[in-house]
């Protein structure tokens, strides 16, 4: 099937529409991504804890950023993944896309929660409060709840033999939060500071910033490894259930 060039990245994924082919590649990739990610996280933690200077104002608490920023990035990136998978499922009826969206939901929610917790731990000494209902904090908390809602909906849909269309619609609708979280600190006045890291420059000094890309890459690899692991689990469960049904037939 020929597709226009602008759907090329998607077109290459069609090669994996066949779960058997996907599983063949996913199996070695799971361990490779996960352990490469763990190694990078260990390296990043060592660098962030021992090799960087403290901040002139925050002191040592600045080091929370090496966990907080990757967690926020994956909390939001996870939902982008759910939204893209949902579109692929609705448009191309790609069966693995809905499996991917379901697999992303749990680690996405865990990283969103990690982002909220590390932010709270940083906020107490820096701002003088664990929690405030400002635009950034509230919209991130909403994203966490939206994740929980997605998991409940997707599991209920799968249990009742649904076709996955309703969770996919929810996945697209939930992306309304992504621009709100991103721009909350720019357009509203908030307690949370504005963006430190832009596409071309950063207001974080280089000597403090450099372990962050290592941590970002490490967290992302671990996340990808977990998603592949969960996708394989979902496929294995489906296979087992199909076999059980066949065996139960008289």
């Amino acid at each position: 099937m020929l597709l226009p060039y602008w759907v090329c990245p998607v077109a290459t994924l069609h090669a994996f529409a066949n779960p058997a082919r996907f599983l063949k590649i996913a199996k070695p990739m799971t361990a490779a991504l996960f352990w490469a990610g763990v190694a990078l996280v260990v390296l990043g933690c060592w660098a962030g804890l021992t090799q960087t200077p403290p901040d002139y104002l925050q002191g040592e608490t600045v080091r929370i950023l090496y966990i907080h920023v990757p967690a926020a990035w994956l909390g939001m990136g996870g939902w982008s993944g759910i939204a893209i998978s949902s579109i692929m499922f609705l448009v191309w009826r790609h069966p693995l896309a809905s499996v991917a969206a379901r697999a992303i939901a749990l680690p996405g929610a865990v990283f969103a929660a990690l982002c909220l917790m590390t932010g709270s731990i940083w906020g107490r000494p820096t701002w003088g409060t664990w929690w405030q209902w400002d635009g950034r904090l509230t919209s991130m908390l909403l994203l966490f709840f939206v994740y929980l809602g997605y998991m409940a909906l997707a599991n209920a849909d799968a249990d009742r033999g649904g076709d996955g269309r309703i969770p996919a619609l929810y996945g697209i609708a939930g992306s309304v939060l992504l621009p709100i979280i991103r721009y909350s600190v720019v357009w509203w006045n908030t307690l949370h500071q504005g963006p430190s890291i832009g596409l071309t420059q950063s207001t974080i000094a280089g000597s403090i910033l450099w372990p962050l890309p290592i941590m970002l890459a490490g967290f992302t690899f671990v996340f990808a490894g977990i998603v592949l692991m969960r996708m394989r689990t979902i496929l294995a469960v489906a296979k087992t259930e199909a076999r059980m049904r066949r065996m139960a037939r008289p």
Partner: protein, 148 residues
């Protein structure tokens, strides 16, 4: 048009609509969702009297004065266009200092003064090691024009 292309168009339209809805919600909520009043908001819109509000801005340089009782602090909050005098009795956060961001929770008095019941330090987006901070920077995060 094949059914697949129709679904692709619909899905992309839906995603676009959702993102635009988010951006519209952001701009529509601009006033209601503000975490604090800036001194120039108060000058423009009048004093929000009789309810608990937050006032945010920079602590003006040289304005922090501690009263003789040891717990009362007087200072001036500025956003570069207007100023509001604030009085607070209690323990100030570690990061509370002049020329740095602050969010005060409390009430306005009819004379335009602000009585704070709690202070929060606002951190800006600049992170640097202590030796770089020797060339002390002026924080400008809370001034509306410098925000972009």
């Amino acid at each position: 048009m094949k059914a697949k292309h129709q679904r692709l168009t619909l899905a992309l339209l839906a995603l676009g609509a959702v993102v635009v809805a988010g951006l519209l919600a952001l701009s529509a909520l601009k006033d209601q969702a503000a975490f604090f009043y800036a001194p120039s908001d108060v000058r423009r819109d009048g004093l929000p009297l009789g309810r608990a509000v937050r006032l945010g801005g920079m602590v003006e340089g040289g304005s922090v004065k501690r009263a003789a009782d040891g717990v009362t602090v007087h200072f001036v909050v500025t956003d570069g266009q207007a100023t509001t005098p604030v009085v607070f009795a209690g323990i100030v956060p570690d990061l509370f200092r002049e020329k740095s961001g602050v969010v005060a929770e409390g009430r306005f008095e009819p004379n335009g003064h602000f009585v704070a019941s709690n202070l929060l330090a606002k951190h800006d987006e600049k992170y640097m090691p202590p030796e770089m901070a020797g060339k002390m920077h002026e924080t400008k995060t809370l001034e509306p024009d410098a925000k972009q």
